[in-house]
Each structure stands twice: as structure tokens, then as C-alpha cells.
């Protein structure tokens, strides 16, 4: 398979940030999703962290590190005016109860039905006894679930697949996929290719994507 150069991770995150409307409560997963926060400064968007915090501020450094203030990835973060702390049950009440407007997660694999796999890499062994963390709660409770990931694996294999070969996080939940090469809507009819990396053709994207893509009539270059 051909290997294409695409957006760096930070720019995938920028594209995702454009998808988030002001006045939204947003949960950002580990990986590329975490980088989205860099593009939200000045926006009227409140980040929820499953450890038990609303309005998580930027990463803390140096003397501003407080050992009682971390995010769900165990990074030191900061407080801003309007931040709120709460316990884990309240936090997952928000998440599972559908109170978070937009959830952004990474994935190993996504299929055309909107199923995705994100929590367990079979190469680790242990028969699926892995770090589920909050991923399944976030997925099941998501009103809008955006996936941000590389389009293919490190060795060039499609991550947008016909059938998941990694264990699923949840089924029929993904709304939209943002990769380094494309933006794809997940709709009842399948996957709609909406935006592509400048210089690539729909055929290029199809060549590294297992399910047959529906080409949007208004397909355009990824807007940065």
C-alpha cells in the first residue's frame, strides 16, 4: 500500500477544534484528542476531565505544579475561574448520563457502522485484561463522538476497517472521523468522505480505507 504524507497530529487536533461549537462541554481522551485543548484557548468551551473536574486549565509547569491537581492522564494541570471539582460518581454520572456535548477519542480501528476499538492492543496479551479506564463509559454516554487518529497504522495498514479485529470499545457510536488525510462522516448509509488532504484524490483515500467510501458531492480540501 502507498504511504501518504498528511497533517501532523497538532493540525488534526486543530481541525477537530473547528468542529466544536462554543458553549459546549467537551471531554478529550488520551493522544491526539488531548492536543485539541491547545486550540481552545479563548473559546467558550468547558473541558470535563473524568478524574472529577470541570473547566480544566492548561498543563501546569514548574512551581505551578500541584500534586492534588491532575487530569485523567495523570498530567499536572491548572485551575481557572469557574473550575469545579467533584467525585468520581458525579463525574461518570455526567459522562454516562449524556451531559457532555462532545467527546473526542483516539482509536485503533473504526468501521462503517460507527463501531470502534480503542482500549486494548492484542499484542499486549493477557487475553483482553487491559486498561479499560473510562473509555467505554465515555463512548456509551457520548452525544457526539469524534474520533481523532492517524489514517493508517505505523506499518501502513488501514485503521478504518470492514470488521474490527481489536476488541470493541462500543458499537454504533462514532459520528465523525478526523485523520491526517481525511474527514469522514459516519451516517446510516456508511462512510462519507467530506474532506481530503490537499493534493490527494478520493481514490488515494479509498486505497488505504477498507470500507467503500461514499464521496460527498461537496467534497473539499481539509480546512485548516
Amino acid at each position: 500500500m502507498k504511504k501518504f504524507e498528511g497533517l501532523p497530529r497538532e493540525i488534526i487536533a486543530l481541525r477537530v477544534s473547528r468542529e466544536i461549537k462554543d458553549n459546549s462541554y467537551v471531554n478529550l481522551g488520551i493522544g491526539i484528542p488531548t492536543l485539541v485543548s491547545n486550540w481552545l484557548e479563548g473559546r467558550d468551551i468547558i473541558l470535563q476531565s473524568e478524574i472529577g473536574m470541570l473547566k480544566t486549565g492548561p498543563i501546569a509547569e514548574g512551581e505551578f505544579i500541584d500534586q492534588d491537581l491532575i487530569n485523567a492522564s495523570c498530567q499536572a494541570v491548572t485551575e481557572v475561574p469557574g473550575s469545579v471539582y467533584f467525585d468520581i460518581c458525579e463525574s461518570f454520572g455526567m459522562i454516562r448520563g449524556g451531559h457532555v456535548d462532545i467527546t473526542v477519542m483516539g482509536a485503533f480501528q473504526v468501521n462503517a457502522a460507527g463501531d470502534f476499538a480503542s482500549w486494548y492492543n492484542p499484542s499486549r496479551g493477557l487475553e483482553g485484561v487491559g486498561n479499560v479506564g473510562g473509555s467505554m463509559d465515555l463512548a456509551v454516554g457520548a452525544k457526539i463522538l469524534l474520533i481523532a487518529m492517524e489514517h493508517v497504522t505505523n506499518d501502513g495498514k488501514p485503521k478504518i476497517v470492514r470488521e474490527l479485529t481489536y476488541p470493541a470499545t462500543a458499537k454504533k457510536k462514532v459520528s465523525k472521523i478526523f485523520t491526517d488525510l481525511a474527514v469522514i462522516d459516519v451516517v446510516p448509509e456508511g462512510l462519507v468522505l467530506k474532506e481530503i488532504y490537499p493534493g490527494l484524490t478520493p481514490e488515494d483515500i479509498q486505497s488505504i480505507t477498507e470500507p467503500v467510501l461514499i464521496i460527498a458531492p461537496d467534497i473539499k480540501e481539509i480546512e485548516i
Partner: protein, 246 residues
């Protein structure tokens, strides 16, 4: 009603081999490290550590000590393994898990939070949509094959739900910022996490608090854990630690 005890032996009195102990905190924040040290000192074995989100990865020195002493029979967690597979595979903890010498039982984090709450609040079982469509809806997730049990599911409002049961540990180890004499607790920032719900769930809740004040000093409208859930409190120093051990 004075719940303050003055030495660590008294704080962990009555914990015997085979006990299930809930461990508060989330990765490095809010973990009851001093009580963990006390249980290492005490040397009891066959322990089940009922965690929420990797507090033992945060308290990695204490974890290593307990693994070395072979005190742990089982860990319940949502995120029990080191994030890095490479780091994990080299670590004695994961090696004991791979050898089947420690059982690791995994739940989604929100389900685990809810299991403790159910235990504390007298709700014997509940249906949750979390994990529907995943392996979780079929079986308990554990490395000890013979302990994998089939889960009951049911369709409610068009959503497949998993039946989960209350979890009631024998003891809870809780890290609080401040306690009054009667065991009313305040936590600080994200060090709260699993501490309140575990305090509620356990039969005997043991608290290490950085500050102790007389009853009436805390704002009665701003207490996170009412003293009715707390049996013992011990004052511990605020010690600094590295927050990134994962």
C-alpha cells in the same frame, strides 16, 4: 464522637489476611500512601486491593513493596497496568499477573465507581449500558480464567444493559485533606475522585488526613464525606511525591 487514633498500628488494627481493602485516589492524586505503608509494615497477605483508577501505579513504591512481599492476591481496577506495555512487561507486578499469581479483575471506570456507590448506598444491583457491544457484556474480565463469569444483560429502552452488583470492601483506605474529630472530611481538588464513594462502601473506613480540626471548624455546607461513613482518622504529614509514574 472522637474518631482520631494516634498511631498507625491502631489505624490498621483488625485487618487480617484475606481482607478486601478499597484504596482511594486516582493515579498519583489522593492515594492513602501512609496507610499503604502501615499495611506493608503489618505484613498481612492474601489481600484484595479494590481500586478505582490505578492508585497503585501512582503509589508505585508501595506497590513494589507489596509485590515483593507477596501480600496481594487480587487487584480490582479499571486501569491496573502501566500505560506503557514495555514498562509493564518488565515489572514484577505485571509478571505476577501474567504468572497467575495475582488476579487482575477489570471493570470500566464508571461501572466500578457505581459498584462502590451501590455497595455504600444499599443498592444490591443495577443495569448499566456501559460496555454494551464490548467483551464486557459477556464476561467478567479477569486473568484467572476460572473466575470469568457470564454477565446478565437486558434490553432497556432499546439499549443493551449489563447487570452489575454492589461491591462492599471490608476496609477502605482514604486520603483526605482535612478531617474534624468526628470524621467529617474535605478533600482537595482532584485528590477527591474515588475517596468519597469508597468511604461510603466499606464496612470500616480508615482515613489519613493532612489536617485535623475540632468539630464545627468545617463549613457544614461544604463537607464531602459526612462522618457517619468514617470509623477511624489518623493525622499524616503532607508529603511531596512524583506525580508521573505511569
Amino acid at each position: 464522637m472522637n474518631k482520631i487514633v494516634t498511631n498507625l498500628e491502631e489505624a490498621v488494627a483488625g485487618i487480617e489476611d484475606g481482607a478486601t481493602i478499597a484504596i482511594g485516589g486516582f493515579f498519583a492524586a489522593g492515594v492513602p500512601r501512609t496507610l499503604l505503608k502501615a499495611i506493608i509494615e503489618k505484613g498481612v497477605t492474601d489481600l484484595t486491593l479494590a481500586c478505582g483508577s490505578g492508585p497503585m501505579l501512582g503509589a508505585v513504591n508501595e506497590l513494589e513493596e507489596m509485590v515483593k512481599n507477596r501480600q496481594i492476591k487480587k487487584v480490582i481496577d479499571s486501569y491496573g497496568l502501566f500505560r506503557s506495555a514495555t514498562k509493564g512487561s518488565k515489572h514484577a507486578f505485571e509478571q505476577q499477573i501474567r504468572a497467575g499469581e495475582i488476579e487482575l479483575e477489570i471493570y470500566p471506570m464508571g461501572t466500578l465507581a457505581e459498584k462502590y456507590r451501590a455497595g455504600g448506598a444499599g443498592i444490591p444491583a443495577f443495569f448499566t449500558p456501559t460496555g454494551s457491544g464490548s467483551i464486557i457484556e459477556n464476561t467478567t474480565l479477569t486473568n484467572i480464567d476460572s473466575n470469568r463469569k457470564k454477565k446478565e444483560t437486558r434490553e432497556i429502552d432499546g439499549q443493551t444493559c449489563v447487570l452489575e452488583y454492589a461491591l462492599k470492601p471490608d476496609f477502605a483506605f482514604i486520603h483526605a485533606h482535612t478531617s474534624d474529630y468526628e470524621g467529617n472530611l474535605r478533600y482537595r481538588k482532584t485528590a477527591r475522585s474515588f475517596n468519597p464513594v469508597m468511604a461510603m462502601a466499606a464496612r470500616i473506613t480508615i482515613v489519613e488526613a493532612e489536617n485535623i480540626v475540632p468539630a464545627g471548624e468545617l463549613d457544614p455546607d461544604a463537607i464531602h464525606t459526612p462522618g457517619i461513613f468514617v470509623q477511624r482518622v489518623i493525622k499524616v504529614p503532607r508529603t511531596s511525591f512524583n506525580i508521573t509514574n505511569l
